[in-house]
């Protein structure tokens, strides 16, 4: 028979269990892996259609259209995943916390887009979008599974590099980030976190 466990060790174990349960209970897990893959595919198609940033409004509009399609895919896939798990998004507190942390950097991106366009920096939008989308994933990811902030940091790194390289490479960075990272991380989320 083993020696009895000291009571303080039991208390530490209990507190650790409580903290761990509370932490997992506040995670937002309805992130759609397959939805991410689909968003990545539409981004690759968009990069092929848009070509290199050429200071034309057409280039910006093509990518804004893709952003709308991607947002619709993400919301639809999230609602489906949450519904499958028996937790509609509207009643899930983790979803609210995730949204509150995720949205501010995205709003900053929406505000900065016309500023870049009007300021003659249209060709630098890939860096701006990648950086701010990454910031959104990194902050929202604080309330989600660990892979999400990592995805955010990868986007941010790509955004920083996109600012440093010739602007004509912008569509490759858009394809690598919104296409490649979404597909890669989407597959991991789909396989490890239930779809």
């Amino acid at each position: 028979m083993g020696a009895p466990e000291p009571i303080h060790a039991h208390a530490i174990d209990n507190i650790r269990f409580i903290r761990d349960t509370m932490s997992r209970a506040t995670q937002f897990t309805a992130l759609p892996g397959w939805g991410g893959v689909l968003m990545g595919v539409t981004a690759l198609v968009t990069a092929a259609v848009s070509g290199p940033p050429d200071d034309s409004l057409r280039w910006v509009l093509v990518w804004l259209a893709d952003a709308c399609v991607a947002a619709a895919i993400a919301l639809g896939a999230m609602a489906m995943k949450a519904r499958r798990a028996g937790t509609p998004l509207t009643s899930a507190a983790p979803a609210h916390r995730f949204a509150l942390a995720y949205l501010p950097p995205l709003i900053a991106g929406i505000v900065l887009t016309p500023v870049f366009v009007l300021g003659g920096l249209m060709a630098r939008l890939p860096g701006c979008w990648l950086l701010l989308y990454g910031a959104a994933a990194a902050t929202g990811g604080a309330f989600s599974i660990r892979i999400v902030p990592i995805l955010g940091l990868c986007f941010m790194a790509l955004g920083v590099v996109a600012f440093a390289v010739p602007a004509a490479w912008g569509h490759w960075f858009m394809a690598a980030g919104f296409g490649g990272l979404h597909i890669g991380f989407g597959l991991v989320i789909a396989r490890k976190y239930g779809g």
């Binding site: 209990n14 507190i15 798990a85 507190a93």
Partner: protein
């Protein structure tokens, strides 16, 4: 010599007192919350306004039967409340922590902290 004996007696009394605090705390523990799965249910509900049966089942990695039994015990003690609705044709069970449940959880946490503090001091 007499002074050394008195000091030893004092040390022994302090030791006894320290061991007494955790023992008393253990006896006072809320057994209803102390059980691991029920502690999990209450901890999860403490940071969420409400959670469904499926949320809790996935979070605590348990079976339907096990969760039902332990949730019912907490419900009987009025630590959690249960609301059954229909989402389309699917039945849906939602749990919330009651004010009594939150008080009991806070008291339990205070107990755990008191035990640790007694050992530290």
């Amino acid at each position: 010599m007499a002074a050394r004996t008195a000091a030893a007696r004092n040390k022994s009394e302090i030791r006894n007192l320290k061991s007494e605090i955790p023992r008393r705390s253990t006896l006072d523990l809320d057994r209803l919350i102390h059980e691991r799965l029920r502690l999990g249910i209450v901890s999860a509900l403490a940071v969420n306004d409400r959670l469904t049966f499926n949320d809790l089942k996935g979070l605590l990695q348990t079976t339907d039967g096990n969760l039902s039994v332990h949730a019912r015990k907490l419900e009987d003690a009025q630590y959690i409340s249960c609301e059954k609705t229909f989402d389309g044709r699917m039945p849906r069970t939602e749990y919330r922590l009651t004010a009594a449940g939150r008080r009991a959880f806070e008291k339990y946490l205070a107990h755990m902290e008191a035990i640790l503090k007694a050992v530290r001091d």
